[in-house]
Amino acid sequence: MRRSRFYPLWILIIASFAASGCWDAKDIDRRTFVMGVAFDLSDTEDQLVMTIEVPVLTSFATQTHRIADTRAFVAATTGTSVAQMAARIETRTWREMFFGHTQCIILGEDLARESILPIIDFFDRNPRIDRRLALFVAQGKADEVLHIKNPLQPLVSVHLNQILNTLTNTTRVVKRNFQDNLRDLESNGDTVLPRVRSTDTELTIAGGALIKDYKFIAWLGENETRAVAFLYNRISGGVLTVNLEDILYTYAIRSASTDIKPVLKDGQLTFRINVKTEGEIIEAFYRGPGGAIEFDIPGIQSKLNQEITDEILHLLTKLQDLRTDPIGFDRLVYRHYPKFWNQHKENWKEQAWPQAKFEVTADFNIRRTGILKEVTIYERQG
């Protein structure tokens, strides 16, 4: 009686030995944690260069390490595919490459111009990848980024990742992770990736790289990137400074949301884009003669609205000119007007998208002005 009750369970367990992929037991200290990986085109034909950043584990063992200690090890190898290069580099670290904690992937400009697909595929296929990793395009060579030393954060890759995932107060880059990028790319091959630039001693993370059909085609400036961030609905904070009657007002965004609605009328496709933000004035100053004046809140708001509307319209025109749709307007059309979409899906990026019109409205709401009710105007004596 008792034995027969457990029969199904035993069958399940025995079957699981055959079916499972869990034979890959390997202790944590027998793996190489690839924190960051950079890809470039090699000088020789059809070859890639992979550069990895690996933490030197012993330097992480105690809290009291010397600053002079090397905490990251950077190694590079060449090859034709990512897996092949990973296998090659294993002989230099004598441990299995482990991409489960990879914080960022950096693509060189030249490589991205050719195609980013071969790189993306390896990571997309691997189930252990942390999908919150950051995918960057480097201006110039990618491997240079990994060689930068930052005393605050010993691992460049962690530093880069934290900028995207934890920094809320910047609008210089679009804060989207690998998962978001993949969703864009798998839908129409277009996306915007953050740009990283390395000088001799420093990293600059600002702007974006416009990807069209898995190929890098153009850089986007900081203001354009901000417009992209608004359209992606990825604004979590940040500051905007406007000049109204020679007074500089700095507006801090506390929350923002963007609503995009396609409207099809008489065969003309129009996108109604409404940006709503709430925030406060955190800084206001003016140099020149005068006294103290009250805030002109509606004035500041309309000025802000105007600036953002212009920025977004400028960006959209540029995207139309380049025949790219990284924001995914096509998905909206597919959802709202499936018939129209079926007619135009073959040549969406080439014909229908460039002809679309936009109605952009912005609604900036200033909730607070700090504890000062008015702008103090400083009058220089003499």
Binding site: R5, F6, L9, L12, I13, S16, F17, S20, C22, D24, A25, K26, D27, I28, D29, R31, F33, M35, P55, L57, T58, S59, F60, A61, F98, G100, H101, Q103, R128, I129, D130, V158
Partner: protein
């Protein structure tokens, strides 16, 4: 001439081997001496009762020294017999034995029998047998008194708030502790003897109009089936009456707290007390009932619930942590936060053993320490604690045998293990933990899930006197859920737990029937 008595229960209970006493006192004395094989602790005090004007009648008092109170024997038996018996007047009191019984002996409890076997049993239980020449009957006088431990605070089930007394080895004291808490005439103690040679007292305690009769019968039936030489502790009885003898988990609850027993009795459970054992048994018993401490009912409900949550979490921690550690370290390092995984990897750098061996070493040394701490006498036990702490905490890490994280894991497991309120239950958790560690080291988190399934599946098949071990969760009993992980305030616990199938399910609000309440309300509205 004398048949050797076979001391088995059937013989003692049935009339078949009724062995009549002789009228001649020296026959009887010789019989008892032979019965006890002239054991040196058997005392045969022979005396003669002188009755004026008639004759001298020979008498004998047979008992074991050490089992009786010599004070009682002297003052309540011998002294009255030797002095007061002279008042015997034959025409009025025809029977000297009943005269002694009714008018001479001053102690509280004695009985008359003419069955030699009963007398033998009574002597072994510490009574004194009074034989009088010319009568084929015997008076057994209850003069038991032996050395016993004083009532102390419980060792394994301490509480901060609540009574501090615990059972002792003497069963009468234990019964007293229960009776004092439950002054209910329906509280029944049924005494039977178990043990073919030991003849130990076993008492079934229940409240007659609460406990389900079938349950009581079942307990009685199982107890009567026990066929052992001696019962040295309630643990013997527990193992003979439990439903599943092969399981890691105990389906009979043991407790040394009288308040816990009384709480069980009024819930409709049955308690079994065994003489010479300070642990009472409670049936039926579920995993849930063993996870609860009496203190949960003494402190206010928010505090009780907080502690209960902690306790259930602790049970999971004690059960899962080492295997979870192995799974994450060996199979799924991507599931650990990046910074933590770096420092874990760094701390394991240079360790010679894979994580399963590391975990086994540490868990084994923990079990060694725990066992050594129990066995060693108090003062040395502390030394073991210190030495062990040094080995586990410092030296093993510095020597590069285990990683500091493993020390945390083991420490957490140990601390959490001690939070499980029943000592017996923690055995099950401790042993199944090793099973989980092995499965995990082969199959990772997947294996851990399978292992948990196996353990849970096994627990779900267990029953305790017909009650599912995992109730009230499996099968789900919504009624009993309000006294499991979360306990509702006392006014929400109006019913006894349903798993005991109590005859009288209500334990609160009986004095004011619902109908009269409604009438009162109506009256108020009219006014």
């Amino acid at each position: 001439m004398y048949i050797r008595l076979a001391f088995d229960k059937q013989c003692l209970e049935s009339e078949a081997v009724f062995l009549k006493l002789s009228k001649r006192i020296h026959h009887n004395v010789q019989f008892f001496k032979q019965q006890f094989n002239d054991s040196t602790d058997l005392v045969v005090r022979q005396f003669s009762i002188s009755i004026p004007g008639i004759r001298e009648i020979a008498g004998a008092l047979i008992f074991f020294e050490g089992l009786i109170s010599s004070h009682l024997i002297t003052n309540a038996v011998l002294d009255p017999i030797l002095h007061e018996a002279s008042r015997f007047q034959q025409p009025i009191d025809a029977d000297i034995l009943s005269f002694l019984k009714e008018s001479v002996l001053t102690n509280a409890e004695h009985s008359e029998t003419n069955d030699a076997n009963k007398v033998v049993l009574a002597i072994m239980m510490g009574e004194a047998a009074l034989l009088v020449d010319g009568y084929n009957a015997c008076l057994t006088i209850a003069v038991q008194d032996w050395e016993h431990r004083a009532i102390q605070s419980p060792e394994s089930e301490g509480v901060v708030r609540g009574p501090r007394d615990s059972f002792v080895e003497a069963i009468n004291r234990n019964l007293m502790l229960i009776r004092r808490r439950l002054r209910d005439p329906s509280l029944v103690f049924e005494r039977i003897q178990i043990g073919n040679r030991g003849q130990n007292d076993v008492v079934i305690a229940y409240v007659k109009d609460i406990a389900n009769e079938e349950l009581v019968n079942e307990v009685r039936k199982r107890l009567n089936k026990i066929d052992m030489d001696v019962i040295l502790d309630s643990g013997y009885v527990e193992q003979m009456i439990e439903d599943d003898w092969w399981s890691l988990f105990n389906t009979v609850q043991d407790t040394e707290r009288p308040d816990e027993v009384v709480a069980g009795l009024v819930e409709g459970r049955v308690a079994v007390l065994v003489d010479n054992s300070p642990f009472a048994l409670l049936v039926p018993s579920t995993f849930n009932s063993q996870m609860l401490s009496p203190e949960d009912y003494y402190v206010r409900w928010p505090a009780a619930n907080f502690v209960r949550l902690i306790r259930f979490i602790a049970a999971f921690v004690a059960f899962l942590t080492p295997s979870l550690y192995i799974a994450l370290i060996s199979f799924h390092p991507e599931m650990i936060p990046t910074q933590l995984s770096l420092s874990i990897a760094a701390s394991r750098e240079g360790l010679p053993f894979p994580s399963i061996i590391e975990a086994l070493i540490m868990e084994l040394s923990l079990e060694l320490l725990r066992e050594a701490g129990i066995r060693l006498p108090g003062p040395i036990g502390q030394t073991v604690g210190i030495v062990g702490g040094l080995i586990i905490g410092e030296a093993a890490v510095n020597a590069g045998i285990v990683s500091p994280i493993m020390v945390i894991v083991v420490a957490m497991t140990a601390i959490a293990g001690f939070i499980i309120p029943t000592y017996t239950l923690s055995f099950g958790v401790r042993i199944s933990r090793f099973f989980l560690m092995f499965v995990t080291s082969i199959l990772g988190l997947y294996g851990l899930t399978l292992g948990i399934l196996v353990v849970l599946g096994h627990m779900a098949t267990l029953t305790s006197f017909g009650v599912s071990y995992l109730s009230p969760w499996a099968p789900l009993s919504l009624k009993d859920l309000h006294d499991s992980v979360i306990r509702s305030p006392w006014h929400g616990l109006k019913k006894r737990p349903s798993y005991t199938k109590a005859d009288d399910p209500t334990r609160q609000g009986q004095r004011m029937p619902k109908k009269s309440k409604k009438k009162q309300n109506r009256g108020k509205q009219k006014q």
